[in-house]
């Protein structure tokens, strides 16, 4: 029994040593060019990444990713991932980058190497329309029961203000909480709030009021990836020649774009 365990342990260690050795051989840029495709990890997140009627991925992030891949001379492949597993997807090399309106938090920056910020965002408070008038500033929020996505920027803000809150699995779940009345208010991304609530959506009776903070979006890569510099250069170029702004206008996010 002991011998078997010893054998298994040493086998695993040898395997991982071999793995460490071989991983250093190729940079990300070389790997992407060799396989001829940039694999972009996304979620369905309008207006940054979403599918058009033909099932093709479009959106501000998706279009920029296509342009970036083109500049590298490779094809682009969009892969829907589980947002909770984004770091594992990157490190497991099943995707090359996370490009999906990702807020640059300290956690994100410590787990990945990130591009320069390219888009502003804010965390906003979502409440029922009927009571929206009562909550116009931060001071009025005390006493409300909040629902926030666990680990999100919104949760951080709510905790900083020492408000009562329930962490849920996704921003959409936070909205569901408010709609079903199990929470009084939710804190979600401004861009998402713009797309998901109000007239013509399933959340027609919700609205957003107070902005809690401003934050910025970036693109995440594996630690030590040389694609970061390439993307920063691509951002600078496309900002200069106006193509980034043109793309932003197409999806209505031109107000939020950060100068490169």
């Amino acid at each position: 029994m002991k011998k078997i365990i010893t054998f298994l342990m040493s086998a695993i260690m040898v395997l991982s040593l071999v793995a460490c050795g071989s991983a250093k051989e190729q940079t990300d840029m070389e790997a992407v060019k060799e396989k001829g495709v940039l694999v972009v990890g996304i979620t369905d997140f309008a207006p940054m990444d979403y599918e058009d009627d033909n099932g093709e991925w479009i959106g501000f992030d998706a279009d920029m990713a296509k342009a970036f891949a083109k500049s590298l001379g490779v094809k682009v492949e969009f892969v829907e991932i589980d947002w909770d597993n984004k770091v594992m997807e990157l490190d497991g090399k099943t995707i090359d980058c996370v490009w999906n309106g990702m807020t640059l938090t300290d956690e994100v920056k410590s787990a990945m190497d990130c591009s320069n910020a390219y888009c502003n965002n804010a965390q906003v408070v979502v409440v029922n329309k009927d009571v929206a008038d009562k909550y116009k500033d931060v001071d009025s929020l005390s006493g409300l029961k909040f629902a926030v996505e666990a680990g999100s920027a919104g949760e951080k803000e709510v905790n900083a203000l020492e408000l009562e809150c329930t962490p849920v699995k996704a921003q959409s779940d936070a909205l569901l909480e408010v709609k079903s009345g199990t929470s009084d208010a939710a804190v979600i991304d401004l861009l998402m709030a713009g797309a998901m609530i109000g007239e013509g959506t399933g959340y027609a009776d919700l609205t957003y009021t107070v902005s809690l903070n401003s934050e910025e979006y970036g693109v995440g890569f594996r630690k030590g990836s040389d694609l970061v510099d390439a993307l920063n250069k691509f951002f600078a170029d496309s900002y200069k020649d106006g193509s980034m702004m043109k793309c932003a206008k197409q999806y209505g996010v031109q107000e939020s774009i950060i100068e490169q």
Binding site: A19, Y50, E80, I81, G92, T94, A170, G202, Y203
Partner: protein, 228 residues
Amino acid sequence: MELMLEQFPIVVQSLNVGFLQTLKLFFATLIGAVPLGLIITFGSMSRFKPLSFITKIIVWIVRGTPLMIQLLIFYYFPGLVLGKPIWGSGETGRFFAAAVAFIFNYACYFSEIYRGGIQSVPVGQEEAGLVLGMTKSQIFFKVKLLQMVKRIIPPMSNEIITLVKDTSLARIIALQEIIWAGQAFLKGSQGISGAIWPLFFTGVYYLIFSGILTVLLGRLEKKLDYFR
């Protein structure tokens, strides 16, 4: 209500696509795990001690850990530890990884059911075959197999119905099965966002499919009712 009627065709189409993936995973698992389970049974019942020991350890590990973790390990482990993502990033790779994890997991459960089935056939059946000059394989196929099958159908039916619902675990590695498809409308997809009903509506698909399976398995059970 009006909104829901408007959304219905779009949602159903999307759920159908997701359910097709669910069905594919279900049948792939069944086709792979039913024979693999038998091989594992023979391994764990082997008189060669090291083989039966290792098989039992594997079965213990697979049955003793959540399928969700096994999915994560099967899909991410090659890339994370070996530096070589063998599955590929796209839908097909995720499906294969999920199918392999499911087949392996369910084969271990099936193997225990088979073992119970084999052991529940009285020793006298084998002895009667022996004294009548039958070979071991004739005894297995002509005498014991059908009795075994009869005994394992009820527990197998249970596992198979559980498998229908377990397929939803595959969304942890972003396999876009029906629950994933339903949830997409919560977050927003194809112009529909914040729609809650599609997620609950997926339950109807599961219910109908497991209903059909229950009827079919019940019929099979009845078919073997002619002996005891």
